[in-house]
């Protein structure tokens, strides 16, 4: 039995499997986030329901607010597990490439917030009586890019937030303005898809912007993570 420097992909999948297994066993994150998604759907429906034409105009905003809140809940939760008995220290004290650990965490957060949106999107469509079915694919793509943007920025900041007092208040305060380009792009892009706004270059420009955001901050975070977690 000898220790060879573990490979990037091996670490990535090990951390993902570990998180998935822990999640399936406790189910706490999925349960709380699922219920939270339901509650939020009702609140948003109460807040925004109007005539059909107006509903079609406001549903992008409702979807993206839902994503923002789901994402905030998710990034806080996934890191709480690492912080509980300080297993995170053991994780980053292992020879595993630290950026692989961060990337795995980003993917977990991305999946969590996207799965909440898979629940919320059809429910909102039913409650606000907007037929999203014809444009479901593009809308989910936008939401995925948004969830990605939230994950790449929110995950490293959530890791850092354990050091601060009022972490649970601070985190949204810090992350929301940071992801504003993605939020703007998402809301506007979704309206373009639904035909309630017309941009100069359609939805493509927004997709480009969000993709660029996800890649830039994802790569930046991975690059800096080593320096971030060293005390």
């Amino acid at each position: 039995m000898s220790g060879a420097a573990p490979g990037y992909v091996a670490i990535l999948s090990a951390v993902l499997v570990k998180d998935l297994r822990a999640e399936l066993r406790s189910k706490e994150t999925l349960a709380t986030m699922g219920l939270f998604g339901l509650v939020m759907t009702f609140i948003l429906a109460f807040g925004f329901t109007a005539d059909p034409a107006t509903n079609r105009r406001v549903i992008p905003g409702a979807l993206w607010i839902a994503l923002l809140f789901a994402g905030t809940l998710g990034v806080g939760r996934t890191f709480a597990r690492e912080a509980k008995d300080d297993a995170f220290s053991a994780l980053i004290l292992s020879p595993a490439p630290r950026s692989a650990v961060l990337l795995a965490k980003m993917i977990v957060n991305f999946c969590l917030s996207l799965s909440v949106m898979v629940l919320v999107t059809p429910l909102l469509a039913i409650m606000l009586r907007v037929d999203l079915l014809p444009s479901l694919g593009p809308i989910m793509l936008m939401l995925a890019l948004g969830a990605g943007g939230f994950a790449v920025v929110g995950t490293p900041l959530a890791v850092m937030a354990v050091n601060a007092r009022f972490a649970e208040v601070l985190l949204p305060m810090v992350v929301f303005p940071m992801v504003s380009p993605v939020l703007i792009g998402g809301v506007k892009g979704t309206s373009v898809i639904l035909g309630t706004t017309f941009g100069d270059d359609g939805v493509g420009g927004w997709i480009q912007l969000m993709l660029a955001f996800d890649v830039a901050f994802g790569v930046g975070g991975l690059f800096l993570f080593e320096r971030m977690v060293t005390e």
Binding site: G3, A5, A10, K18, R21, A22, D86, A87, A90, E231
Partner: protein, 237 residues
């Protein structure tokens, strides 16, 4: 270039760590030979945790260098490959079972087919019967036994122990000391910070005493660790 004298030796040179308003560690030169156990002693705030933190690569030094095996430790990842760490907290995942925890950390260390070693180690720390139970049902002592197994699994050449006996009962303390002796006899460098002078003196053959971030004593100690400590720090501390 690894000279014979430097093989397996952990050495720090001019090590310092500044925080914004104070130094936690000042210009520390020290050596930790292989096959030895160094007791790291000092009052609260002496810099023990900072030193262990820097050696573990969890914290960064603001001055000075760390050498291991005659080479400057620059690439932290390869250094981490050889370090085992036991801290105040259990550092295991409570939703996973004892076995799954060890399997996970084995993968983090890139260990090849670790299953037999895991079982052997679980048996050693007395968790064989509970190996498939999730850790959140464990007592503090059982979790601490598991964390010992976690640290020892990759057969580290450097074992950093920050209050490793926390939560252990008498049998647990005896077991831990036995495991540490075995690691020492295998040629590892052991550094142990603990407030339990009695247990520490059973194990340590050397001591490094710090106070206010400065070295007060370094060298071999006899049986009477407490006397050396009292001489350096004073009874009150």
């Amino acid at each position: 270039m690894t000279s014979a004298a430097e093989a397996g030796l952990l050495r720090v040179e001019g090590l310092g760590r500044a925080y914004d308003d104070h130094y936690a560690l000042v210009d520390l030169d020290a050596e930790f030979p292989p096959g030895s156990v160094t007791a790291l002693l000092g009052p609260n705030g002496a810099g023990k945790s900072t030193l262990i933190g820097i050696l573990s690569t969890r914290q960064s030094a603001t001055e000075g260098r760390v050498y291991f095996d005659g080479r400057r430790v620059a690439d932290s990842a390869s250094m981490r490959q050889r370090i085992g760490f036991v801290g105040h907290r259990t550092m295991v995942y409570s939703e996973l079972t004892a076995r799954e925890n060890l399997q996970f950390f084995a993968r983090m260390f890139g260990l090849v087919s670790p299953d037999d070693a895991i079982d052997a180690l679980l048996d050693r720390v007395g968790l064989m019967r509970d190996k498939d139970r999730p850790v959140n049902g464990f007592s503090r002592g059982m979790s601490q036994r598991l964390t010992l197994a976690r640290a020892l699994l990759p057969k580290p050449s450097i074992l950093l122990l920050d209050e490793p006996l926390t939560g252990l009962d008498q049998a647990g303390v005896r077991l831990a000391l036995t495991l540490f002796r075995e690691a020492r006899d295998a040629g590892a460098v052991l550094i142990m910070a603990s407030h339990d002078l009695v247990a520490t003196s059973k194990l340590a053959d050397r001591a490094l005493i710090l106070s206010s971030g400065r070295k007060r004593f370094e060298g071999a100690t006899g049986e009477d660790l407490a006397a050396v400590y009292a001489e350096c720090i004073g009874e009150a501390a």
